[in-house]
């Protein structure tokens, strides 16, 4: 058996159930890795609680399904008594009263939370540089961003600090960092995973999902978190259990490569890696053909009306009155609001709150928010039409490999365009997987595969088959 921290989650669960290792050792191994803070993946470690939980699990007469395997959790998810900040100063030191449904389900199944991972403040960003606390560095190159907003979770998994992690994805926040860090990320169908306890950014787009080093691990994690939650009205009764995939070929699978997302805006090295992957699809018995999704070109513009509008309301509750640090002690309530929020939010969050407030204002609603909702419907229909002809649509996950820290900080628009390939899928509410499909300039390239709503099993099966053919080595040089 290799070192415990190098095991996939699946192998770790097997080892735990076989009695080859205890949860305590497993958790210690992960914590030892996680305590190395050179990448800045964790905002907080739950070392003591994790060790205690691992001992409890080891003492159980019957080991729970996940056996005591460690997991890292994005700081956007509420964890009882464990500081949860969503990467924001306005929640510094905040200890929630309850645990998010998806985290509670994993704990129930025997996963052990080892810590909370860094993220762009309130999940707004594509590089994790918008964290109020620190930047996170990409394990494939420490001058590179890990992507975002789930950059901490992606880095923790890519740097073998945890076998897997939970992230959240609003416009690409799981898939893009997974792509930039050379791991697997899944954005499930909207409604697949309960959002109860996910600190909201844009409610109609937010979804929790797995980050892992293999498709099978991602599927295993997803299988434990999908399903209806009475505390989330938008969560769905899941039609069939998520299966850990076994497929090794793609016979009969029709893959459409999105023409608009293979344009000049995509780096040549990225395009080449995606094209090679399409070649492998054919070798595995699948069929590749171009599909056109013209409305996706309006995806970013649409997204930057809808998401800020929703966030402007979602973030209005952070006023320093009921929880969070007291950043101001004005006597006047309006002054208190203004100063707390002025000090507590970072520049990108403020930018989006202002954008959203403006687009919902009387007289502008129809032109902005209303129109964006109509374009969203168009995009969804376009995907539906595409799925009449193909089973899966493919594109790069990100038009570029990991960019340099600081490179896009001063240029919000360039940062927003990082998510040009992932945003349309979010607007359509459909599931997508990002898998690593090779390197360009020594940095990982991600391939995005998207399918119709509820097609997770087919999607994961295809991703698994392709993953085998690609044979990507997830170990960044010098990390292990």
């Amino acid at each position: 058996m290799s070192a415990l921290h190098e095991l996939t989650a699946e192998a770790a669960v097997r080892a735990l159930h076989a009695g080859e290792a205890g949860a305590a050792e497993m958790v210690d191994a992960a914590l030892a890795r996680a305590e190395d803070d050179r990448w800045g993946s964790f905002l907080a470690l739950a070392a003591e609680a994790a060790r205690e939980r691992a001992r409890e699990i080891d003492a159980m007469p019957q080991r729970p399904p996940l056996g005591g395997v460690p997991i890292a959790i994005k700081d956007a998810l509420s964890t009882r008594d464990l500081v949860t900040t969503a990467g924001s100063r306005i929640l510094e030191g905040f200890r929630p009263l309850y645990t998010a449904t998806c985290v509670a389900r994993l704990e129930e199944a025997g996963a052990v939370v080892i810590g909370k991972t860094n993220m762009d403040e309130f999940a707004m960003g594509s590089s994790t540089e918008n964290s109020a606390y620190m930047p996170t560095r990409n394990p494939w190159g420490d001058d590179r961003v890990p992507g975002g907003s789930s950059g901490g979770s992606a880095t923790a998994v890519a740097a073998f600090q945890a076998p897997w992690a939970l992230g959240s994805d609003t416009g690409g926040s799981i898939r893009q960092p997974a792509a930039l860090c050379g791991i697997v990320g899944v954005k499930p169908t909207y409604g697949a995973v309960s959002r109860y306890g996910l600190i909201a950014f844009a409610s109609s787009l937010d979804q929790v999902g797995p980050l892992a080093r293999t498709v099978r691990d991602a599927a295993l994690l997803l299988s434990h978190i999908v399903g209806r939650d009475p505390l989330d009205s938008t969560s769905l009764e899941w039609p069939a259990p998520i299966e850990v995939p076994q497929a090794t070929d793609l016979r009969g699978v029709r893959v459409g490569i999105v023409s608009e997302l293979m344009s000049d805006g995509v780096e040549p090295g990225v395009r080449a890696a995606v094209e090679r992957a399409m070649g492998l699809v054919e070798e595995l018995g699948g069929e590749v053909r171009p599909v056109s999704l013209p409305a996706t070109e309006h995806g970013v513009a649409t997204y930057y009306l809808i998401a800020p509008a929703e966030c402007s309301a979602n973030l209005a509750r952070f006023d320093g009155v009921r929880y969070g640090p007291r950043l101001d002690d004005s006597d006047d309530i309006v002054e208190h609001y203004e100063r707390t929020r002025g000090l507590g939010f970072g520049p990108e969050v403020k930018r989006r709150i202002m954008l959203g407030t403006f687009s919902l204002s009387s007289g502008y609603y129809d032109a902005y928010y209303g129109r964006a909702q109509r374009v969203r419907t168009l995009i969804r229909r376009e995907f539906e039409r595409a799925f009449e002809e193909v089973d899966i649509v493919a594109s790069p996950t990100s038009p570029t490999v990991a960019f340099r820290l600081g490179e896009r900080v001063a240029d919000p628009l360039a940062m927003y365009l990082s998510d040009v390939c992932t945003i349309p899928v979010s607007l359509a509410g459909i599931p997508a997987v990002s898998i690593p499909c090779g390197l360009s300039e020594g940095l990982p390239v991600g391939l995005q595969l998207a399918g119709p709503a509820f097609s997770e099993n087919r999607l994961l099966a295809a991703a698994h088959a392709l993953e085998g053919a690609i044979g990507f080595d997830p170990r960044p040089p010098g990390v292990l």
Partner: protein, 485 residues
């Protein structure tokens, strides 16, 4: 045209629904409990929480909509109404906005002197804000030393009912609000306690020249916490608007507060100061789409409403408007009355239930339907009264006994020998004896003083402890004295 002005009034009524828990979380509703003892992460707007619609609140909204003749929307939605205020922890209120659950109803308003129709524009579900508590001089915000927030009330389910501007007087507005309260109580939708704020009424008021088509500029009178203040407030506002217009001024669209202590009206905010609430669809909730079978079931379960009852009683049973209004106040009293009226003369049933029965029971702290006087017993009593077996004073005595023991009135009468004496010979002998015993009065009588008849009837009643048939005694007195009968 002369100085005749027509008031035009519409009401907006906030009803606190009688659910066990809040609109979007499982906290229990409470009134008067220590502050912040009925809260949870959801109603305190902690990070990451989500609302879930209270099904019972939806049921009560549908019941109300059906009772008000509304269409129940097959699909209704919630929106976020955004504004910052310490009583609103999310900084938005979740409220139905452009797709409310109840639409387009119509209510027959019964009031003394006739009926009129009042249109219902809509009724929609929303959540209440928390309660601000101001410490300082007089509990008001202005000049308070500090303010606290009690989140117990935050998230209480409300139904806002909006009427068309169909009301034409303060009295009609009051009558409508009263009738609505009666209806809501009958349905169990709300306890409609205005003091505790579970029924809050705002009025939109404008005036126009009698006969004019176009509406005048309206003002909104906020939060009047009793029916009397509602009527007084509207009257004061009508007078203020008419005064302004007659002096050549104009009415400004604004929100007003009526101070019942001084009768003064002052402005809370003008139209220019109105908030931009930036409504947008609430993404955390799915549309409310009640199963049509459920709606049908609720429709079938609707009881006869108090107003319909009143209307039937005045039309079919010949009750006065006032009797009908009093007896329909609660369902239990109305049901009791109906049970009596089915077995006895409805008008005397109404009299007795409203009057003597309630008066006697009130002293014992009982309600008719909980008392030993079953409708059957009361009907028996009324029958004895009707066929002349007992007189009214005796009937009251018998009633007191029935209240005590629950015995059949006929048995009480028999046991106590209380039956009315109607026997001509017996009464004739009594009258003759009385004439002898009271010679002075007998002389007056023979001299033609009709008034003295009453004196002898009184004496006869006294002598028989009320059992003598007074009408018969009167006739016999006249006969014996040679007066015309």
């Amino acid at each position: 045209m002369t100085g005749a002005w027509e008031p035009v009034i519409g009401l907006e009524i906030h009803v606190q629904l009688a659910t066990r828990t809040k609109m979007f979380c499982a906290c229990e509703l409470s009134f008067g409990d220590p502050p912040n003892t009925h809260t949870c992460p959801i109603c305190l707007a902690h990070p990451g929480v989500l609302p879930v619609v209270n099904r019972e609140a939806v049921r009560l909204a549908i019941l109300t909509g059906l009772a008000l003749g509304c269409e129940i929307a097959p699909r209704s939605t919630f929106a976020r109404k955004n504004y910052f205020y310490p009583d609103l922890p999310k900084a938005y209120q979740i409220s139905q906005y452009d797709e409310p659950i109840c639409l387009g109803g119509r209510v027959r308003l019964l009031r003394d002197g006739g009926e009129t129709w009042v249109g219902i524009t809509r009724a929609h579900l929303e959540e209440d804000a928390a309660k601000l508590v101001h410490a300082g001089v007089d509990g008001r915000r202005a000049g308070a030393e500090s303010s606290g927030v009690d989140f117990n009330r935050g998230g209480t389910p409300l139904l806002e009912i909006v009427t068309e501007p169909d009301l034409r007087s303060a009295a009609d507005a009051g009558a409508f609000a009263r009738q609505l309260r009666q209806t809501l109580r009958r349905l169990g939708v709300s306890d409609c306690n205005m003091e505790e704020g579970s029924l809050r009424v705002d009025a939109n008021v404008s005036v126009r020249r009698a006969g004019a088509e176009a509406l005048g500029t309206k003002t909104e009178l906020k939060n009047m916490n009793s029916f009397r203040f509602l009527e007084r407030g509207i009257e004061a506002e009508i007078a203020r608007q008419v005064g302004l217009l007659e002096e050549g001024g104009r009415v400004v669209q604004e929100t007003l507060h009526f101070d019942p202590d001084t009768g003064a009206i002052h402005s809370l905010r003008s139209k220019e100061e109105a908030h931009d609430y930036r409504y947008f669809p609430e993404p955390d909730l799915v549309p409310v789409a009640p199963d049509p079978a459920w709606v049908d079931e609720l429709r079938a379960s609707l009881p006869e409403l108090p107003a319909d009852r009143r209307r039937r009683w005045t039309a079919e049973l010949g009750l006065t408007y006032e009797d009908a209004e009093v007896l329909s106040e609660t369902a239990a009293l109305g049901d009791y009355f109906e049970a009596v009226a089915a077995l006895a003369d409805p008008k005397s049933a109404a009299n007795w239930v409203r009057g003597e029965l309630r008066a006697q029971l009130r002293e014992l702290g009982q309600e008719p339907w909980e008392s030993r006087v079953t409708p059957e017993r009361l009907a028996e009593l009324l029958a004895l009264l009707g066929d002349g077996t007992i007189s009214v004073p005796l009937a009251k005595e018998v009633l007191a006994e029935v209240i005590r023991t629950g015995a059949a009135p006929a048995e009480v009468v028999a046991e106590r020998g209380l039956g009315q004496i109607s026997d001509e010979d017996e009464l004739g002998a009594l009258v003759e004896r009385l004439l002898e015993e009271h010679p002075a009065q007998a002389d007056q009588l023979r001299g033609g003083k009709d008034r003295v008849v009453g004196y002898f009837v009184g004496q006869a009643m006294k002598a028989t402890r009320g059992r003598a048939d007074p009408a018969r005694v009167g006739r016999l007195v006249r006969e014996r004295a040679g007066l015309p009968t």
